[in-house]
Amino acid sequence: MNKVPNNKAWWLVLPVFLLVAFSAVVPMMTVVNYSVQDIFDQSSRYFVGADWYRQVLLDPRLHDSLLRQFIYSACVLLIEIPLGIAIALTMPTKGRWSSLCLIVMAIPLLIPWNVVGTIWQIFGRADIGLLGASLNQLGINYNYAANTMDAWVTVLVMDVWHWTSLVALLCYSGLRAIPDVYYQAARIDRASAWAVFRHIQLPKMKSVLLIAVMLRFMDSFMIYTEPFVLTGGGPGNATTFLSQTLTQMAVGQFDLGPAAAFSLVYFLIILLVSWLFYTAMTHADKQ
């Protein structure tokens, strides 16, 4: 017989629900309202239907920025996930060294976004920065403010420096949760290190890896502060990602209608990807 669920526990969720309603639902309803109107000021606004949606969906500037954003998030995931796994596999498992490693790994995560941007802005400068000046001394022409490729590499390396630790720590916790019997069985079978990784460690890390991929995707997909501080979106528009384009539109040009329409498209992309990850995660748990 199926157990009847006790729905009274939902009352405990009510405070959070109210909080989220005020911090997310009401602002989002406002954004939806803005996205169908041409707003000049509070007293003069006109209903324009789906015009702003049509405008933003056909805007080449937003297409470029969306493409850059997908490429950026893909690069972030392709670098940080394997690197994080590799670091987690090489980290010591016991003793003082493991504690020290954990603390060192956690330090970049504690630094605020704008500080990370400033650190790398100075670090990469061709005249006084340790990285920039050293590369130029070695004869490599490096200037993130003028060269598109240099700007991309710097923004990517900065993100890798800031967030690989998160992936590594998640994988480390996943690895520590594997019971020793699996390794004993592998030793009896004389499994190679690769076989242990492929058939024991990787499947056991599946759920934490899904969380890591989801967190890194969402975070990199909405990245704003770090590239804004480091390159200001330049050179040209080379590192102008979605949220910066959106901010320019909403706050810089005060085009509230198109900005609202675009933020809803942005939201739908995030919603779809998060739902796919959530479904994959819950199905992995069921299996």
Partner: protein
Amino acid sequence: MDWMAWTLPTAIFFASIGLLLLGMTLYELRRPCVERRGFLPIATTRGDRLFIGLLVSAYLHLLVIGLSDWNLWVASLLSLAWLLVVMRWG
């Protein structure tokens, strides 16, 4: 409420979503649903199917706006049909 810049169509839209959620809650309380497998590749509950239905409807509207000159009502009617199909056989 003036700062929220309400319009009649958006008010109707949110009221319908609200009523839909309320209706689903009451329906769930009266007749709790069982997870099942339809034509969708995963087992879903009634709420899952509603979410999938609404998300696909939103993308359908964007497709119609972005890629065609069709009237938006076409997208809305297609979405309604899709929603009914996914709720019944999804």
